[in-house]
Symmetry: C2
Subunit: 396 residues, 2 copies
């Protein structure tokens, strides 16, 4: 059951650990209308923590459906100017930004034309969101709100109580002191990222059923935990939960084939059994049991949409992985398994001031890890450093 007490604990975690909200900050929240009950508790917690103003932009996938169904072709990728300005203002005002995700109606676009679905992405707003994230002037966080639709996707039945319990386990709300539990976990992941940096890897190779993929890194690629810092020195945790260490790869040097190990939910369409072939950094072939056209439209969006912007490693100590569920939402599923992301490369995954990250209006995580996928780091001399075996972390 959604109770205010339950929502309030989650809200406080998002404010204290996720955003580490400073007194006097403005907070922007982006959330589906289905998340209104949780969003209201977050707004309340934010004001209690000293927020100046909380501005909520409720999104509604039914409006997007109306656009895709009946709108003119030219307007499919339209973004109102004020939606872009809202995000640009957040950078200027050094606001905090919270997104509450969690699909409530996964198949809402399933009967629509995949190309039109792929276009209706508000690319200008997405680009502004990425500018905000890359500006290092906003503290931001993504959480997921349990709802019946999501429960149905995850369990085959709308068991909201069960979903709340697994979400609480994944985000450590089952700990007596969730804030301190997160500080400990973030320290572990940060140590792991430092060990990876020490090895000065040239590439990472994944091998498993249907997969033999090598992702080349840049000399400037830096491994990080998902604990970030604004230019002013405020730390925040952009994803709750987070179990990954990640880096920004060389967009020109991915090669091979990869079979995704979990379904991917994109624009309310489920993409299953996705297989990608990469040549010279670019996706050159897409196959899937369902949803392939949405992926094809996505990678055609812009020059960088078919190249990698992120590489992330997750092992079996992941709380999300331990729950052994397919959550049907990237925020959780990406933290169960190693993943790559098509599109925008985070500057946080490069040395300060370095360039070379992929540029794109999209950023889509694709899960490729699992217990039967071996992961090696490759050094410049071609020798291999085992990173994951049987999903167990191999570095000190």
């Amino acid at each position: 059951m959604i109770t205010d007490a339950r929502s309030d604990r989650y809200a406080r975690l998002a404010i204290e650990v996720g955003l580490n909200l400073a007194a006097g900050q403005d907070l922007l929240i982006d959330a589906d209308v289905a998340h209104a009950p949780l969003v209201r508790r977050v707004a309340s917690a934010a004001y209690v923590a000293g927020a100046h103003h909380v501005d909520v932009a409720y999104t509604d996938p039914h409006l997007t459906r109306a656009l895709i169904e009946h709108g003119g072709h030219d307007a499919l990728d339209f973004t109102p100017e004020c939606a872009v300005r809202r995000l640009d203002d957040a950078v200027r005002n050094e606001s905090a930004m919270l997104a509450v995700i969690g699909e409530s109606e996964r198949d809402l676009f399933a009967d629509l034309d995949g190309t039109r679905v792929g276009l209706a992405q508000r690319p200008a707003e997405r680009a502004a969101r990425m500018r905000a994230i890359d500006s290092e002037r906003v503290n931001w966080c993504v959480i997921a709100g349990p709802n019946e639709g999501w429960a149905r996707d995850a369990f085959g039945e709308p068991d909201l109580e069960r979903l709340w319990r697994v979400v609480e386990a994944a985000v450590r709300l089952d700990e007596p002191d969730p804030v301190s539990a997160w500080r400990t976990r973030i320290a572990e992941l940060t140590a792991r990222a430092a060990a990876l940096c020490d090895r000065r890897l040239d590439a990472v190779r994944f091998r498993g059923p249907g997969t033999d993929l090598t992702v080349g890194l840049l000399p400037a690629s830096v491994w990080r935990s998902a604990c970030a810092e604004t230019a002013r020195g405020g730390t925040f945790v952009p994803n709750l939960p987070t179990e990954e260490v990640f880096t920004t790869p060389d967009p020109r040097r991915t090669a091979g084939t990869v079979r995704c190990t979990r379904p991917l939910i994109l624009d309310a369409v489920t993409v299953t059994d996705l297989e990608l072939r990469f040549e010279g950094g670019r996706v050159t072939h897409v196959d899937a049991s369902s949803g392939a056209d949405v992926i094809r439209a996505m990678i055609a969006r812009d020059e960088g949409a078919s190249r990698l912007g992120e590489l992330a490693l997750v092992d079996r100590t992941s709380r999300v992985g331990q729950l052994d569920l397919i959550f049907h939402t990237t925020l959780f599923d990406e933290n169960a398994a190693c993943h790559i992301a098509l599109g925008h490369g985070l500057s946080a995954g490069l040395a300060p001031g370095a360039v070379g990250a992929n540029a794109s209006s999209i950023h889509t995580d694709v899960m490729i890890g699992g217990s039967d996928v071996e992961v090696d780091g490759l050094l410049r001399d071609g020798s291999a450093v085992p990173l994951l075996r049987g999903n167990a972390w191999q570095l000190g």
Copy 2:
């Protein structure tokens, strides 16, 4: 029951009669999240009618409650800059604007400090909305969305079916051809406004139990029906339903006392038995059984908030009046009875280019008419022209 068919009929009426939406126009919708089911049908109808893009800003009174309860005093009247820009952009783009109102939780703010409730009005956004309306570059309309909370207010029980039926009667959706029924009614009201203009009234006087109020007019005051026209010549009907003829009075020349004949819902607070005394155009005394502090905070908002911006006459042929209900929403209740409005004066109620309308960030309708209130027009020589007797229209 809310059915898609029922919502679709209402949506088409709003698009065709209310907005008279032109192909290629952008449409802005402002609505409480409680109205999402109807809003989605309106968006769909708008795209079918050729809208370029529909931008919905969902509002949520629970967020306002969080601000009033826990926010800093300085932030109570804060409006994010992008919310103002959104409305200014609507003027520049000659967009259409639809508001879907209808309180779903009337007493949500009842336990909060009235002064803080009164401040949390986003005055900069309200002012931008009034600029948009006065610009004569947008076609705009306000409709009300039936919901259980509103049904509970109106009937004492959440009888949504009954509310839909009375709303459908009030907005003529029970007619075989609602669009043509509205064209006929608007023509009647427009003829009534022309007859009032011909009389060149200097003032209007209301006399009834607890009421003896004289509202002075400007030489430039013009009577109108609520059928408006953009500068480009597109006609639209700003309120559905509408049963009034209105004008913009002289903000300096209201005098006397008035007892309101219907409860007023303001900021989710019900103001009952409101009595106002006017001297030299300004409210100098406020009394009420409940909600007086919200009215006092409201009229202190700015210089013009205690002066009149509108005067409207409604007779017994009103569909809303015939339903003999207190709807607990101004859009309907104002169309059951004669009313005055505190605050902003519409330039539409003055001759083209004329000045002298009241300036304020608020516009709050207050119902003062009824079967036991006599209304006279006063000529400059002091003689009286009967306008309403027993709520029956007296002019030709």
